[in-house]
């Protein structure tokens, strides 16, 4: 509650100064309650930091931002977003974290004529045939981070891979993504309940199977428990590949147990470009924690909007604004950035590895570029008109 208020205040304070000019109205939809609130806070903080860096303006116009907590409930998200749209408070909607929320708010937002930009969720649904002119994704298509590990395992000559994921659709999609690139033998494929907290049973199976590497998609608390127990069981000599399992949102709780573990990503805090250095330093100074990709992509979204609003000369003409977003030139924390035909990014992907920094905090660092200018597998089906 408290954090939500502060974030809203930070955004609102930036707007007060020039209240006379016609503001750009932005709705930020993110998850701020429940166990996933850590991710939603990163999105909100990253976007707020971007707006602050821009002097409270987008393309020189003042910003009127409203932060909504979707509570990770699709019905709640729809109700709140509809309220925002109907009261005329959104030219642009930024969010959300989770794909199921995006699927709930997609129609209401895009049909209202507003621009929808997802700085995290990138489901296949809107990457192919259902792509839309006023919908953009600044993160990745959901399959890509998983494919990174599959490709890396293939490139490294691993013969036997053990796969672990929660027993729900995203878990099955994740492992399908890995298997689309890895041609060796899958020696184990375990699906665990989303509520699991003890992985001893799976860990014993891994030890018995003796794979060349393990791939895990275990978001949030699942990953925290798995990583600790994997290390405690002495399995850390088996390479641990993953996505959304060891990142800046879980590392503070995993600590030393996660050092050396791998993940697939298109961004990491150590990326060597001026925009990223500015972002990471300013973020840590302001919020006191290491930003993850959730924050970085949200920050990128603010910078993207700044460039696009400037180019379009305002937000009144949405078609012009969408066209400006397509080709907007801004300094991304990922270095070069561009959209593909389906408005999902075409970008490089890296194998990243967990390290302990000199100041005792943990972060991921890029180790190897696995995909260059990667286009997601659905883009070809998109006929934007």
């Amino acid at each position: 509650m408290f954090g939500k208020l502060l974030g809203a205040l930070a955004l609102a304070a930036a707007t007060v100064a020039s209240a006379q000019a016609q503001p750009v109205k932005v709705g930020v939809v993110t998850t701020l309650s429940g166990p996933a609130a850590t991710l939603g806070q990163q999105l909100r903080d990253g976007f707020a930091l971007g707006i602050e860096k821009l002097g409270g303006k987008l393309g020189g116009m003042p910003v009127d931002a409203t932060v909504l907590d979707d509570e990770l409930k699709p019905d709640v998200a729809v109700t709140k977003v509809r309220g925002l749209l109907e009261s005329g408070k959104a030219d642009i909607v930024v969010g959300p974290i989770f794909s199921n929320i995006l699927q709930a708010i997609f129609k209401p937002v895009t049909e209202s004529g507003a621009i929808l930009i997802s700085p995290n969720a990138g489901p296949s649904t809107y990457a192919g045939r259902a792509c839309a002119k006023n919908f953009f994704v600044t993160s990745y298509q959901n399959d890509q981070p998983h494919a990174v590990s599959g490709q890396y395992a293939q490139d490294s000559g691993y013969k036997r891979l053990f796969l672990l994921a929660p027993n729900y659709q995203a878990g099955r999609d994740a492992l399908a993504g890995v298997k689309s690139k890895f041609k060796g033998e899958i020696v184990g494929e375990e699906y665990v309940p989303l509520t699991q907290m003890d992985f001893q049973s799976e860990i014993a199976k891994i030890a018995a199977a003796k794979p060349d590497a393990v791939y895990a998609f275990m978001p949030g608390g699942l990953g925290i428990a798995l990583v600790k127990q994997y290390r405690q069981a002495g399995l850390a000599n088996i390479p641990f590949l993953s996505a959304f399992t060891v990142d800046e949102s879980t590392l503070p709780a995993q600590g030393d147990a996660a050092i050396g573990f791998y993940s697939g990503a298109s961004w990491a805090p150590n990326m060597d470009n001026a925009a990223n250095k500015t972002f990471v330093a300013a973020f840590e100074a302001k919020y006191g924690y290491v930003p993850g990709s959730y924050a970085a992509y949200a920050y990128d979204t603010a910078m993207l909007l700044d460039a696009a609003v400037k180019k379009a000369g305002g937000v009144a003409d949405k078609a012009k604004l969408a066209a400006a977003i397509e080709t907007a030139d801004f300094a991304s924390t990922r270095g070069a950035f561009k959209f593909g035909v389906n408005h999902y990014p075409v970008q490089d992907f890296y194998l990243v590895q967990v390290v302990k920094r000199a100041d005792g905090k943990y972060q991921t660092e890029t180790r190897k570029k696995v995909f260059t200018a990667d286009i997601d597998p659905y883009a070809a089906q998109c006929k934007m008109n």
Binding site: M1, F2, G3, G34, P35, A37, T38, Q41, N167, E189, E190, Y191, V192, P193, T195, M197, D198, Q200, S201, E202, I203, A204, K205, A207, A208, K210, G220, G221, L222, I224, A225, K228, Q229, Q232, A233, G234, L235, S249, T250, P252, A253, Q254, G255, Y289
Partner: protein
């Protein structure tokens, strides 16, 4: 074969953790006929208090001691302030009120410690591990968890069967009104039982903290398992809770190990990967249904004069 032994050990360890939580729940349910959904939150509270006190004192053991005590005191305070007023009411009222306590405490933890999961380091003395099978080491800490669970079980069995308070608790479980009529201060007895239950849940929370993710609502899933345990074991019975907890732990762990493999032989790998996990997570509920069909009051129900 070795794998099976290892998995059985894992099952026993999970079972003993469940027992620590279920023991308090079954006493409260049995003695006071009170449904306390907030029991899982007390487990979470224990974990958070453990992290906080271990951080303050720099010692896991002091953290464990202080957190258990404070969890017990919190339980007593909750009993005095909230639960006491609900004993005479219907189960639905109790469920609603204790659900309110869950929401309040989850939010309180979020305000105090933030939403980000916390880390609880293992005590140095127990941070080692030993070779269990090729390529797999078993943390000494998990052995300690097993030992702690067994000690608590023995201690509770002794306290319930051989002490005056234990006799009253047993008497209260079979006929609270009669115990009260015989001049025993049933209110104080209830407070005592509640304090012990909350303390055990808190103790379990601290013990589990180094293994799992310390985060709000971490107790919610365990609460469901704990209810399965007390239903199988028979409401109000420590012995029942012990046997049922081990049963649930073993069935769950061995089920996850073997069900998918069993389906693989029958259905092929890809179908097994779909059906197996679903059936494995249903197993304990199937066991519960089977037990209830044969013994509707559970395995070891407390003798109850209706």
């Amino acid at each position: 074969m070795t794998l099976l032994v290892v998995q059985a050990l894992n099952g026993v360890q999970l079972g003993l953790l469940l027992f620590l939580i279920a023991a308090g729940l079954t006493l409260v349910f049995g003695v006071m006929d009170f449904i306390n959904l907030a029991h899982g939150v007390q487990y979470m509270l224990g974990a958070y208090l453990g992290v906080a006190f271990a951080g303050l004192t720099g010692s896991f053991w002091l953290g464990l001691l202080l957190a258990s005590v404070v969890a017990g005191v919190t339980g007593i305070a909750l009993e005095r302030l909230v639960f006491r007023h609900l004993y005479g009411r219907s189960h639905l009222d109790q469920v609603l009120a204790t659900f309110g306590v869950i929401l309040t405490l989850n939010e309180a933890v979020r305000v105090l410690w933030g939403t980000a999961p916390l880390q609880m380091p293992m005590p140095d003395a127990l941070s080692g591990s030993f070779q269990l099978m090729e390529g797999l080491r078993y943390p000494v800490y998990r052995v300690a968890l097993i030992v702690a669970g067994l000690l608590v079980a023995v201690g509770l069995a002794w306290a319930v069967n051989c002490t005056r308070a234990g006799m009253l608790i047993r008497a209260g479980a079979s006929n609270a009104a009669m115990v009260s009529a015989l001049g025993v201060d049933i209110g104080r007895l209830f407070t005592l039982v509640f304090g012990i239950g909350a303390m055990l849940a808190g103790f379990a929370g601290v013990m589990a903290a180094p293994l799992v993710s310390v985060e709000p609502s971490m107790g919610d899933n365990l609460l469901i398992l704990a209810f399965v345990v007390i239903v199988i074991g028979g409401v109000g019975a420590i012995r029942g809770a012990f046997v049922a907890a081990l049963m649930v732990g073993l069935v769950d762990t061995l089920g996850r190990t073997m069900v998918t493999d069993a389906f693989k032989a029958a259905l092929g790998a890809s179908a097994a990967a779909r059906v197996g996990p679903a059936v494995a997570s249903m197993l304990i509920y199937l066991v519960m249904a089977a037990v209830l069909a044969i013994r509707p009051a559970g395995l070891f129900p407390a003798a109850r004069d209706a």
